[in-house]
Symmetry: C2
Subunit: 299 residues, 2 copies
């Protein structure tokens, strides 16, 4: 059975009862499983993780809009995190027995339904967008809710679906499809923040590094360590092990070693198996050889 | 739900219809899944892989005896592979949500039932045996069916269950519990068989190497490569990555590099995840962070 993950971000993180009601509405949809949700009060934002097949996830996201749109008013909402909508961002992620193309189709169907049913302008992003300058979430969200009216009226920023004017209280939504994101940190055996920053600059796409890497150098004050904090946006094309080796090599140039690495949150099995294949120089290996896959598959 | 694997070896590999009837008898047991079976005519032996919970696997193995004992007569059977019984060896392997101790209990229950129902003497082996000189399959099987009467009558070789005399046609059985076995080969960038043999001797337990490694050097004539052919009998205690690194280091001593490695058959996910954790220096990592585990587990 196909499994698609969706991780809607809503612009409410301070009223637990409101968030709980929205999550309950999603959870009540048959075929939907809410794996997790968490709220951040300073960001005034909540992130919900749900899975199901395409039909279930679509119904789950529409139930989320049904509950969230009347409950969140961006004219009075404020928080540290940039936002353009009450339901700010809705990515669809292919997990099992489903292609990226099917997630793109789902994103477009949901975007059309949200525009038609709620009168909310929708921008497509990442894999769901055909427009090369409209793929990046940060670019779409620039100007936020407060600048949305002017943005929608400006050249090149008509929405992909819905009216070219903000919904009065719910703003706009950014809906799309992307690969699972891996949050991965590498801690250095040094307290030198400048080294972590130089390594981050060397490996990240924006400053000349690997295509699917976002990275920054940070200081872990409680442990007196410098850290390269990484988001891997497509582990199939830029694998974890290549990033690890590159950080190790760059660190050596400053006389620094890697102390440890850590995965924050979830990681697809294939990313770890890929690392094992790489370092063990495994050839002729198939996922069908993993005992658990054999047990769960057919005879 | 608990998943136990059993891999009974029967002393029949030349009559496909007989093997098929025995496999069908196992497959007919509710709760049992036969994952695979294969016969070797020159060994005159078949290996069946089945899974289920403890009750299902126990019923499946007893159904196998019911079908195999009348069909296989060791007085006329011969083949290249050493054997002591019609149903020669029956290991139980913990796969998921089950402990080794539970597999040991299952092995003892099945051994008692086989002895009582079929009058077959049974030796316990590996983890199921308390006797330090009766753990190793090769030691128990030495002398084969033809030497079994004398062996059972000799000091220290009374069976763990059943009569101290062979079953006339079915001999004895060796029943026990063990960890999943990983068949793992490392191909060297050389045609020098002597190097593969020296490395195998360095890494294997029997000649001073790692505790859960069996290894030999072989020549792949079709590719003109030397290979270190390895059985890993407990990947939790002697992990794949440690064996790989040791072979790489030993090879360097002869000016040889590792060309590639390969897994033959199945490998538990945990063995590959362990290799990824090792090489990526992952800390604070839990299997609960693997997306697929989260999807399959409860909320």
């Amino acid at each position: 059975m196909a499994i698609i993950e969706s991780i809607p971000n809503i612009s409410e993180g301070r009223r637990p009862d409101v968030v709980r009601r929205i999550v309950d509405a999603v959870q009540a949809v048959p075929g939907v499983r809410v794996l997790d949700y968490s709220s951040d009060a300073s960001h005034n934002r909540s992130v919900i993780t749900l899975v199901g097949d395409a039909a279930a996830v679509q119904a789950g996201i529409l139930a989320l809009y049904e509950a969230a749109v009347p409950a969140i008013d961006l004219r009075t909402q404020c928080g540290e995190h940039p936002r353009v909508g009450a339901v700010d961002v809705v990515p669809f992620v292919p997990i099992e027995d489903v292609t990226m193309a099917e997630c793109v189709t789902l994103a477009r169907e949901v975007a059309a339904a949200v525009a038609a049913r709620f009168g909310i302008p929708v921008f497509l992003y990442e894999e769901a967008s055909d427009n090369p300058v409209r793929k990046n979430l940060e670019d779409i969200r620039r100007g936020e809710f407060e600048g949305l009216g002017a943005k929608l009226a400006s050249e090149g920023w008509a929405p992909d679906f819905g009216p070219a004017a903000p919904h009065p209280s719910a703003g706009a939504s950014v809906i799309g499809a992307r690969m699972p994101l891996i949050a991965y940190n590498i801690n250095l055996n040094t307290d030198r923040l400048d080294v972590a920053r130089k390594i981050a600059a060397a490996i990240r796409h924006s400053s000349g590094g690997l295509r699917y890497v976002k990275a920054m150098g940070v200081k872990l004050d409680d442990r007196n360590l410098a850290q390269v904090s990484i988001n891997l946006t497509n582990f199939q094309k830029t694998p974890v092990h290549r990033v690890f080796d590159m950080v190790t090599r760059e660190a050596a140039r400053y006389g620094v070693t890697v102390l440890e690495s850590e995965v924050i949150g979830l990681i697809p099995s294939a990313a770890l198996v890929g690392a094992a294949e790489h370092y063990l120089q495994l050839e002729r290996f198939s996922p069908a050889q993993i005992l658990e896959n054999k047990l769960r598959g057919g005879q």
